[in-house]
Structure formats: structure tokens, C-alpha cells
Amino acid sequence: MTWLERLKRKKIMDPVTAALYLVPAGVIVVVFRLLPIGSAFLLSFFDVKMGRIRGFVGLAQYARLFQDPTFWSSLGTTAYYVVGVVPLSLFLSLFAAVLLNQKIRTLGFYRTVYFLPVVTSLVAVSMVWKWIFHPRLGLLNYFLQFLGGGSLQWLEEPRGIFEMAAAGLNWSWWPDGFAGPSLALIAVIVVAIWRGIGYNIVIFLAGLQNIPDQYYEAARIDGANPRQVFWKVTWPLLSPTTFYVLLSTTIVSFQVFTQIYLMTGPPVGGPMGTTKVIVYYLFEKGFDAGGNMGYASAVALILFGIILTLTLVQRRIVERRVYY
């Protein structure tokens, strides 16, 4: 018997082993998550430039933040983005997951196809889509023209989609402030949905396969039609999964950055700032010349507060309908 086994027998090794296993993940979480979050909180009360703290400013940066029109417009843009991405992504991925949950022969192929965008580099995806949306050379306008339509400016179109629709219907007047998200933002939203859907499908599939077959059998014996089976069996039993997907998609959507950074502009966030989301605003404030990390930290904390509040609200309202 080795010393190791002897130790194990005495149950001394157990907590030590557990701790050792926790170290890699623990170090990463502490160093790359908890410490930065803590320091961001502290930094938001200081004037920080180029890594040097130049003085305590209390809540001044928050005050300045709330007076910055660009901050508010970037919040609005983010809200449009979240509202654009979350419901549609949820609906499409659930729809696809239910289809992929059938017993058809080419299942493996389809599951791979839907998951491909998720494993493809986001940078590559963004560049390819930017080209697809190109007003003159892009594939999308080529198809539009092929189908007899006009071409659109896509990522270079600052007009809101509601306003464009009104113009398309020859309404000469549309109220200011109800223009809606710009077509450029819609283009980014389309890519985000396309890209994120595969991941959600996998989660939904796991949830669907967790539903025991007996319930379906019982429903069928009782003479339930497919729609009833879905609404009375699948939907309620899938609700913990749906709730999880809702929460995670919402959070990720609030934090969108890469697609905006790569697909829009120049300047990034264009045209006319209609795709400048809150995280890009934060990035600009913190990292551009004369960047103020303290100010950017304040933006980060506001974003954190918004996401936290929204998650709590979702828990209160939505979780009541979740069956565990």
C-alpha cells in the first residue's frame, strides 16, 4: 500500500484533492473575473489615466455619465439590439430544436450544420457577413436585384427601419423618435441571431431529451394532438431550459462587442453612431487616446447594474411559470 493510498484511506486526501482540482478554475475565476470586477468598482470613483490613479473623484464620473447624450443613445441602441436578438433567437432555436428532436435519418448532419456558426471564429464570421452586406459588391444586394428589388445600403444605412418602411409605403411623414433601429443595426442583429442560434439549439435539445417518453405516450393515449402535446407537455417541461436560454441570451446580448467592432464603420459604431452599443462606448472611453479607465469602469458598473436588475426581474416574473 503506498503512502498515497494510506492517506486516502484515512480520508485526509479528499479535501486536499478537491482543493487541487479547484485550483485551475479557481485561479482563473479569481484573477480574470473577481479581481477585475472588484477593481472596476473601486476605479469608478477615481480619475484613472493610463493605469495611473490621479485622484479620488467620488461620484463625479457617474454624474458626467448621466449627462452625456452619447451614453444615453448607446443605451438605446443596446436596448434595440437586445429586443431584436433575444425573442427571435429564442423562437428560432426552439423551433429548430423541436425539429431536430425528431427521429430522421440525416439528423447528425443537420445538428452539425446548425452548430457550425458557433464554432467558427467570430472575426471570420463578421468579415464574411460584412462582405455579404456590402452595398455594391455584396451577395445580398445581388440577390435583391436578381429578384427585381432595389439594393439597400445595409451596414451603411443610418435610417431607422420603421421610418424606411413608412417611406416605402409613401407616407410622407413619420414622427421623429419613432424611426426604430437603423438598418445597419438590423444587419448586425441578423448576424448575431444566425451565429448564436446553434448554441441555443444544443441547450434546447438537451432539455427536450430530458423529457421522459412516458409523458408523450400518456398524452398520445389520451388522444392529444401534436399542438396539445407541445403546449401541455413539451413547453411546461422544457421551461427550466427556456428560462436558462432566455437569461443567458439576454446577458450575452447586452455585452455585444465583437460584431460591432468588426462589422460597422469606419468609424466603428457608425453610420451616424446608430450601432454604437454600450460596451463599445465603454471601450472607446477607456482605451482611446486619453482614455479614462475610471470613467469606463463607471460605464461597466452601470451595465452590470442593468443586467443584474433585468435578471432579477426576469427571475421574479418569468420564473413563476417555470416548472422544475
Binding site: 487541487l20 489615466k49 493605469g51
Partner: protein, 426 residues
């Protein structure tokens, strides 16, 4: 046992990871001083710079300048700021005046006066030879912190063949000619009811507006730099002119497409930076010439481009080596060759007379006149607040007017509000 080994390996991996994050100073043992030079020169400009860096390294066996392109200026700025925050900046980097201002405040920029006045420095005659205003624009409270590196001015590029069809033999020299020529050169050549040759074209550019503003006797900011001044009557007039020019007798394209259209002969004249020359080289087949910007109420031209700074964190040997490079790069001879190859403006007036520049003037008609704009050139405000504010002028002021989302007075008023918020915050 196996489990124990796995755990140990995992711990070692983490330790290695953390140790790896520390990074290490590059110590040279061979007596060669290595100087990291961060810049944002890409494409033909990057090739030209690398060629000169190689040449310098060959001439100076004890110095190794390592040229590292960071891609775009924005990426360069972000990397410099992050590197300074981490205490590991390069030795030498391109920097806009606004960045240098921040670096000085942070104590990261090396004052260059002692180098200029020292043994390996520059004589008064040499200092006088620098393009007027350029060194002043690199000085803060009488101390020189950076040296002009890649500077450019705007020019009119015109297609002589298309002009000749209209009986025009010169580029526009004033605003009314500018608009008149653009109008006459905008035509439907094949009679299908659609315009297929435009007088002019351009991109959404704050720089173009600023030049027009200056020619119209307007100012970007108030004298004390505390508030926007571009929303004045002069500014509105300049933007109205720009909108008329680019939407009635021209078109607004995204990115540098207007340049491609010009090369393809679909646009008769464009405004652009002198650097565009190196991107257009060999891509057009017509007779092309360049010309200085047309005059408004007066002549006016803003210089764009960056300078180089030396970082205080570098070792003395590295700083000395970096100064050696700056001195060599801004010498009339190197400056002339850099300018001739890239289209950037030489930083020394005597470079204009050099063989390299004279040969270039022979190749590109009108280039000398374009570069002579340096003699009366102006410089944009240097504050970090304006650097941030400029984006608002471009996005809200110029873009919304050119896309005809707002009238010029509305657009400028909105941009001014955003710029003032930026100026008030810093």
C-alpha cells in the same frame, strides 16, 4: 496515483500560465540596442517604412530598429495606452499630438530639447529648415516632445482627359470654379437618363469640412479651446457648400471607393490626402494631375498625420538610438525619399529641392504646388478632448448632413453640443 499526477500537472500548468503573464525584458547580449517602433503604416506605406528601417539598421550596426505595424491608428493608440498602463511601452511610436499630450501628462514622453541642443543634435539652420509650424506643433510649453513623421495635406486630383472634353485646362482654383467645374463634369454620357460621370466624389470626412471651414475664415474651436466654434455662420456655409458639391455634382461613397471610381474614370476629380498617391500608383490610365485646394475667402489647409515620440520607460541606450533614428529619418535626404515614395509631405523645406523630390515632381504634375501648401498650413487643436470630439463632428456634423438626414445648421448645432459635452468633461 493517476489522479494525483493529473492534479500536479494541472497546478504546474497554472503556475506556468501565471509565470508566462509576467513577460520578460528583452536583454541583448551582443551589444546591439534593440528599439521597438510601433506604427500604423500598412500596405505600400508599411513597405516603404520597412525599407527605410532596414536601410537605417544597415547603416547603424549597433542599432536594431524593430518596426511593428499595429494596423490602424485607433488600434495603435489603444495598444500604446494599454502598454503605458502596464509599464511596458515600446521605445518609439507614432503618435498624434493629442496622444503625446496625454503621454506628457503621464510622464511617459521624453523631452527632446537636450537631444536637439546636444552634441548629436541639430543646428539652428537645420531647425529653421523644418516646415514652418511643424516643430511648434510638436512642442508643449516650449519643450519639444515629438518630431513630425508622416504628415500630409489635401489635394485635388483631376482627370485631365475628362476636363479637356469640357474645354477645361486647369483644376479649380476657387470655390465657385470648384462647383462650376463639378457641375459641368457631371453628365449622362450615354443618354439613358442616368448620370454615369460625376464631377466629384468623396467620403464622409471631418478633415474635408475642416479645410473648407478654414478657407471660409471659420474656426474649429474658440480661441481658448473651450467650446466648439465650427457651428458658426462660416461653418454652416462651408458645410452647405460641401453638401452641394458632394450630393448634387458628386456622390458620397463609403471608405475609399470614391478613389476607385476616380481611377476608373467615372469621377472627374476628387479631393484626397497626398498619401492617396501611393495607393493609386499605376492604377489609372488617363492623364492625371494634382492641384492645391481651391481658395475660399482665403487659402487654407490643415496638416494631418502623426509624429514620433520616445518613451521615458526605455533605457538610456534605447532613447539615444531612437533619437539617432528620428534624426536620420527627418534629415532632408531621407525625408525627401520617404515623401517621394509615399506621398507624405517632406518635413524639411530643403527636401523639396532634392533630387528625389524633383524627380517625383516631374512624374506627378502639380505635386510641388500641392506640397507648397505647407508654407501656410494650419494645425488642428491638440487636446485629447478635441480628439474625442472630432468623431462627433464627423458622425453627427458631416455625416448626417451628407446623408441629408439633417440640414447643415441642425447637424453642426448637434455636433457642437456633443463636442461641448466632451470639452467640458476633460
Amino acid at each position: 496515483m493517476k489522479r494525483y499526477v493529473t492534479a500536479v500537472v494541472a497546478v504546474l500548468a497554472v503556475v506556468a500560465l501565471i509565470a508566462g503573464c509576467g513577460g520578460g525584458e528583452e536583454e541583448s547580449t551582443s551589444g546591439v540596442v534593440t528599439v521597438q517602433f510601433w506604427h500604423a503604416m500598412g500596405g505600400p506605406l508599411g513597405d516603404a517604412l520597412d525599407a527605410l528601417v532596414d536601410e537605417f539598421n544597415e547603416l547603424h550596426p549597433a542599432i536594431d530598429i524593430v518596426s511593428i505595424s499595429m494596423g490602424r491608428y485607433q488600434a495603435l493608440s489603444q495598444k500604446i495606452m494599454a502598454a503605458v498602463a502596464a509599464g511596458q511601452p515600446p521605445v518609439l511610436a507614432q503618435a498624434y499630438e493629442a496622444w503625446t499630450g496625454e503621454l506628457i501628462e503621464n510622464g511617459s514622453a521624453v523631452p527632446l530639447n537636450s537631444y536637439i541642443e546636444g552634441g548629436g543634435g541639430l543646428t539652428l539652420a537645420e531647425l529653421d529648415d523644418f516646415v514652418p509650424g511643424m516643430l511648434d506643433n510638436n512642442s508643449w510649453d516650449g519643450t519639444v516632445y515629438s518630431f513630425p513623421f508622416n504628415k500630409s495635406v489635401r489635394a485635388i486630383y483631376w482627370n485631365k482627359d475628362l476636363f479637356a472634353v469640357e474645354g477645361l485646362d486647369h483644376a479649380p482654383t476657387n470655390w465657385s470654379e470648384y462647383e462650376d467645374f463639378a457641375r459641368r463634369l457631371t453628365k449622362d454620357t450615354d443618354g439613358d437618363g442616368e448620370i454615369d460621370q460625376w464631377g466629384t466624389a468623396g467620403q464622409i470626412s471631418a478633415w474635408m469640412f475642416e479645410n473648407l471651414l478654414l478657407q471660409n475664415d471659420g474656426q474649429i474651436l474658440t480661441e481658448d479651446g473651450a467650446a466648439a466654434a465650427f457651428d458658426s455662420a462660416e461653418g454652416v456655409e462651408a458645410l452647405e457648400f460641401m453638401v452641394r458639391l458632394l450630393t448634387k455634382w458628386g456622390k458620397v461613397t463609403s471608405g475609399y471607393e470614391y478613389q476607385n471610381d476616380f481611377q476608373a474614370g467615372k469621377v472627374a476629380m476628387i479631393e484626397g490626402s497626398t498619401v492617396s498617391l501611393s495607393f493609386m500608383e499605376g492604377k489609372y490610365t488617363f492623364n492625371m494631375a494634382v492641384a492645391p485646394l481651391p481658395e475660399g475667402r482665403g487659402k487654407g489647409c490643415y496638416v494631418a498625420g502623426t509624429n514620433v515620440v520616445i518613451f521615458a520607460e526605455a533605457s538610456q541606450a534605447q532613447k539615444d538610438a531612437a533619437w539617432e533614428f528620428i534624426k536620420w529619418f527627418t534629415s532632408p535626404e531621407t525625408s525627401a525619399r520617404w515623401a517621394a515614395r509615399t506621398g507624405y509631405a517632406p518635413v524639411r523645406m530643403s527636401a523639396m529641392e532634392s533630387g528625389a523630390m524633383q524627380a517625383r515632381f516631374g512624374e506627378i504634375e502639380g505635386l510641388e504646388g500641392v506640397l507648397r501648401q505647407l508654407e501656410f498650413a494650419s494645425y488642428e487643436p491638440r487636446s485629447a478632448a478635441w480628439y474625442a470630439g472630432r468623431k462627433h463632428l464627423e458622425e453627427m456634423g458631416v455625416e448626417s448632413a451628407l446623408r441629408q438626414r439633417m440640414t447643415p445648421p441642425e447637424a453642426l448645432a448637434k455636433a457642437a453640443r456633443l463636442v461641448n459635452a466632451e470639452l467640458a468633461g476633460q
